[in-house]
Symmetry: C2
């Protein structure tokens, strides 16, 4: 059983990092659609097309389950993928909604995300269903992805921009904040500082990795543990490759890996 | 004769704006590859593939000449397009090099651009050929495109980031600055303020439009002017379309136009 993970680019490596930590023995096949990245500015129709192609690519490379590590794709294309594909589909959105609803005390939840994620409306639809009376306050943050990719993780400009994006959410007295993009965990320190101690932060990369690890461990218990331990190495595919891509992946993963351009 | 203009996204509308001003009677067919935008972070190989597809699409829609309005594509794919396609190819890079070499007194020229444009090395190669002894100082500015697309054209964060990017160029005592990306003309006021009066600014959208207009006017003189005035309307295609795309185009063009998703 291979875990297939896809993202618009390299942000999904924050999910890979957590999977390697939790279930290092399970082979991963990754696809980052760097030639068409980012997804966060694109329309619903285009995102569904891209997500379907990405998932099929991973299945052709042996994935027996799919993790949609891109929030923009998860927000718009999860249902479509579940309907069309005959393997388990995990996504970064559902477990972070679960966790946010568990953590909040005042039922006021904030979301930072790309424009596509915010306009999908998926969080606003699902959170009140999960936790009646809960309210969601959303902030599109299109500059955070380029700031992370530029490597400006702690600079003065970054702190100002994070503060500016957080202000309307803090004004709404949120007590829980979902980092609705796989790039944002790299800004967790600045976000935590500007959000203040009162606000609990939900990191979806961590949440989805936990969910996948539970599923894998449950299967292992059923099948006997050795069957899942194989010699197949992890494979990391991208649709475009620059030297800068390799540097960003190293910063996301904390180590250098071989990237294969398709 | 239709003028075909392509760009990675909507930045090329700064070229369209100048063409409409200079030669309003000539029909334009535009293609913005918004589904795969931006190009500025992508590899040479991928850019050449994309540029070839974009140019062919425009030719299928009747373009008799092509303007590569994307600096990243112009920097990496112009030679390839000229070799493979049998129609005149214009690009934003060549006329801005020409103009910068005309304007500089101290032979110290600065370039702001995307990562792809800077690493193409095309300016560094061509400028000393055009003007012996001239030196080029380059600064990749990956945050400026998202700042423009966010509509933060004059905010405090934008001014700080522009200042930060300009500092190394000013330290090199440049007297001429090329805005090496079609998005940057929208930041011209802030860039002019932070660059100071001593530095002359080259706007490639303007330069390439002038070059195209000269060519069209020359052909008109040869063929008799009426032949070029046709009833065909302009057409603006994009590979992805969101409501935000339409807003950005309106801000680039100063008016709303109908965008067609391919």
């Amino acid at each position: 059983m291979k875990i297939g993970v896809f993202d618009s680019g390299v942000g999904g490596f924050t999910v890979v990092r957590e999977l390697l930590r939790l279930i290092p023995q399970v082979p991963i096949v990754y696809f980052g659609d760097t030639a068409r990245a980012p997804y966060g500015t694109k329309s619903r129709r285009t995102l569904v097309e891209f997500a379907m192609e990405d998932a099929r690519f991973l299945m052709e490379h042996g994935a027996g389950m799919i993790v949609i590590a891109c929030h923009s794709a998860a927000s718009t294309a999860t249902d479509e993928l579940k309907r069309c594909l005959d393997i388990p589909i995990f996504d970064v959105v559902s477990p972070s909604i679960e966790q946010a609803c568990n953590l909040t005390k005042n039922k006021r939840i904030g979301l930072m995300g790309t424009r596509a994620t915010v306009s999908s409306g998926i969080y606003a639809e699902k959170i009140p269903k999960k936790l009646p009376g809960a309210r969601l306050f959303q902030q599109p943050c299109p500059l955070l992805v380029p700031l992370v990719e530029e490597g400006w993780l702690k600079g003065r400009e970054t702190r100002m921009i994070v503060k500016k994006y957080l202000r309307p959410l803090k004004n709404q007295q949120i007590d829980t904040l979902i980092l609705g993009c796989t790039h944002y965990p790299l800004l967790k320190d600045v976000i935590r500082e500007k959000a203040g101690k009162r606000i609990k932060i939900v990191d979806p990369s961590l949440e989805v990795a936990r969910q996948v690890a539970e599923e894998i461990n449950r299967k292992k218990a059923l099948q006997g543990s050795d069957q899942l331990v194989q010699e197949i190495p992890h494979r990391f595919f991208v649709s475009d490759l620059t030297p800068h891509t390799e540097d960003i992946v190293a910063s996301f993963l904390g180590m250098r890996v071989r990237l294969e351009r398709i």
